[in-house]
């Protein structure tokens, strides 16, 4: 499992130096070269696409795109959801009621459809995807963190901090947040895989990352028409998604079992 994660992170971090070819500019004479062992050469180990771009290099750069989008999206969704969850759970009352209704509404909306709508109205871009991911994720954090806070705020150390004259802000940040941190970390790890799948799906539909950025979903879409004559164009990027999500899901399960076994149902 860790081997897989490392295998994923290294090419993502070092794509700029390690990738054998330019991911965006191809050479037309080298177009549609098959992978090595299927009549190709080591020069283009996983073959080339219609524009003569090296599949391996594009996959390595794609790892960077996928990882940075899911980390940025999860971070944004996590921060927003956690903040709202803390407010709802700590202050209760009207703020709680409003925030939890928003959570219910968000969870009742079909996320892919909303992503499509957003992409068509403001146009597909890096930022759009992150907004979509944030929107899909925040409610889960808000609900989970609120539940945690409800029980943490009744504990003795919170009451003592209050008696000692700590402000609400200080209690939330110094006393409650650290106790909810495990839940937040586990949720975040469990979601990296599904966010990568979401991003790949949106890119595949043409409403995610714009061309010619090497994104895995886009690469599969590019190879789809050529599946009969040049199967490698669509096959390898999809395999990269599968292995990545597989490894990340295992990592998430492992983190959950270690840090927060109660989250089993999520």
């Amino acid at each position: 499992m860790f081997v897989l994660v490392v295998l994923l992170v290294i090419p993502a971090l070092s794509a700029d130096w390690l990738a054998p070819h330019d991911p965006i500019r191809g050479s037309i004479p080298d177009r549609l070269k098959p992978p090595v062992f299927f009549g190709g050469t080591w020069e283009f180990a996983l073959g080339t696409d219609r524009l003569g771009r090296d599949i391996l290099s594009r996959i390595m750069h794609g790892a960077k795109v996928s990882l940075s989008i899911s980390i940025a999206g999860i971070f944004a969704g996590g921060v927003l959801g956690t903040a709202l969850g803390l407010v709802a759970g700590y202050f209760r009352g009207l703020a709680d009621a409003i925030i939890m209704r928003l959570v219910d509404i968000t969870m009742a909306l079909p996320s892919i459809l909303l992503a499509l709508v957003l992409a068509v109205t403001v146009g597909p871009s890096f930022q759009t995807i992150i907004v979509v991911v944030t929107f899909v994720l925040w409610a889960l954090y808000a609900r989970q963190v609120r539940g945690e806070v409800l029980s943490i705020r009744e504990r003795d150390f919170v009451a003592r901090a209050r008696v000692a004259g700590a402000s609400d802000l200080r209690i939330i940040v110094r006393h409650i947040l650290p106790n909810a941190a495990n839940t937040i970390i586990v949720l975040a790890t469990l979601q990296v895989g599904s966010v990568i799948l979401l991003e790949a799906g949106l890119s595949f539909l043409g409403v995610g990352i714009p061309r010619p950025t090497p994104a895995w979903g886009l690469m599969v879409a590019d190879g789809r028409q050529l599946i009969v004559s040049a199967w490698w164009i669509a096959f390898f990027p999809g395999l990269a998604i599968t292995l990545t999500v597989f490894a990340l899901n295992l990592l998430g399960d492992w983190m959950r079992d270690r840090l927060d076994p109660r989250l089993k149902e999520v």
Binding site: A108, L109, I112, L113, A119, G201, F204, N249
Partner: protein
């Protein structure tokens, strides 16, 4: 129970209203909705007619209520891309194909997931259990569009066993249903397995065994009947996510359903059709969720609001 139902229904209503606001805002975000609703070659008199019809010369909140009123009657305007057809009519026309494929995928995944989950629990920690777990983990890691393409490549292009795409006989549904259902099978299977493990450990199962009930009957009748509650309530979630997850699958297999309509409409910037699809499907999704939650609360009284 009654209180729970009332609160839950109000929430659903609120979510529906939120959807209508989003759909309404959509055509306003990109500039004048008249431009969005009209074909490029339309004249000024056509624009004036639409402006009056949708009340676009009135304040924004009034425009919203006009939109809402029309939407409630199933009127989203005429399609831009498919001339002479109403947006809602197009959605209704494509709906049966989506329901057919989705329904088939749900049936297939249940037929696979339930027995495998039960057997994985019975043969816990054997190679069968591990294989089931691997299949489940793979299912949750493979992007469904890629799985669809690979299935086409193997079974249609190479082996010529099944057709590549389109809607036709029974054989047309097999590949898309597998690509669509595998992800759900994974979750369904794991849930069935853990529920069965819990039940198989209980006193009445031991009693049934002591009484001499045949093992096969103990597992498939006594245990499954009690273990099925958890996966069956989850069934609703599966149904919901299969219908929403089918956007991609309908694209890959050129299945002429509402999802393909949505994608075509988005590519053609056909706003009335996009709005009709969004509102219809959000409506179906929200009502389905409501039914599932009601069922859940009915089966498990712990869920109801205090």
């Amino acid at each position: 129970m009654k209180r729970y139902l009332v609160i839950r229904s109000l929430q659903s209503l609120l979510a529906l209203l939120a959807i209508s606001v989003i759909a309404f805002a959509m055509s306003h975000l990109t500039g004048s909705p008249v431009d969005a609703m009209l074909p490029d070659d339309a004249g000024p008199e056509e624009a004036a007619r639409l402006t009056r019809l949708w009340g676009l010369d009135r304040p924004l909140y009034e425009q919203y209520f006009v939109f809402l009123g029309n939407a409630l009657q199933g009127n989203f305007g005429d399609s831009i891309k498919w001339q002479g057809q109403t947006a809602f009519g197009l959605v209704l026309e494509r709906l049966p194909a989506t329901i057919q494929l989705g329904g088939f995928a749900i049936i297939v995944s249940t037929i696979i997931a339930l027995p495998v989950g039960v057997l994985a629990a019975v043969y816990k920690d054997t190679p069968f259990d591990s294989a089931g777990k691997l299949v489940a983990l793979l299912g949750q890691a493979m992007p469904n569009f890629w799985l669809g393409i690979v299935l086409i490549w193997i079974f249609a292009v190479h082996l010529h066993w099944l057709p590549t795409s389109g809607r036709g006989g029974f054989s047309h549904m097999i590949l898309p249903a597998i690509a669509m259902g595998w992800f759900q099978v994974a979750a369904f299977m794991r849930l069935t397995r853990s529920a069965m493990l819990e039940v198989l450990d209980s006193e009445y199962i031991k009693l049934a065994r002591i009484k001499g009930v045949p093992e096969r009957r103990v597992i498939w009748v006594h245990a499954l009947k009690n273990a099925a509650i958890a996966p069956l309530t989850y069934f609703g979630v599966i149904a919901g996510s299969i219908f929403t997850g089918s956007v991609v699958i309908e694209t890959v297999f050129a299945w002429p359903g509402t999802r393909l309509l949505a994608i075509d409409a988005i590519r053609g910037r056909d706003f009335p059709v996009i709005q009709a699809v969004v509102v219809t499907f959000a409506g179906v999704f929200i009502v389905a969720n409501l039914i599932v939650d009601t069922l859940y609360a009915y089966l498990d009284p712990r869920i109801r609001y205090q």
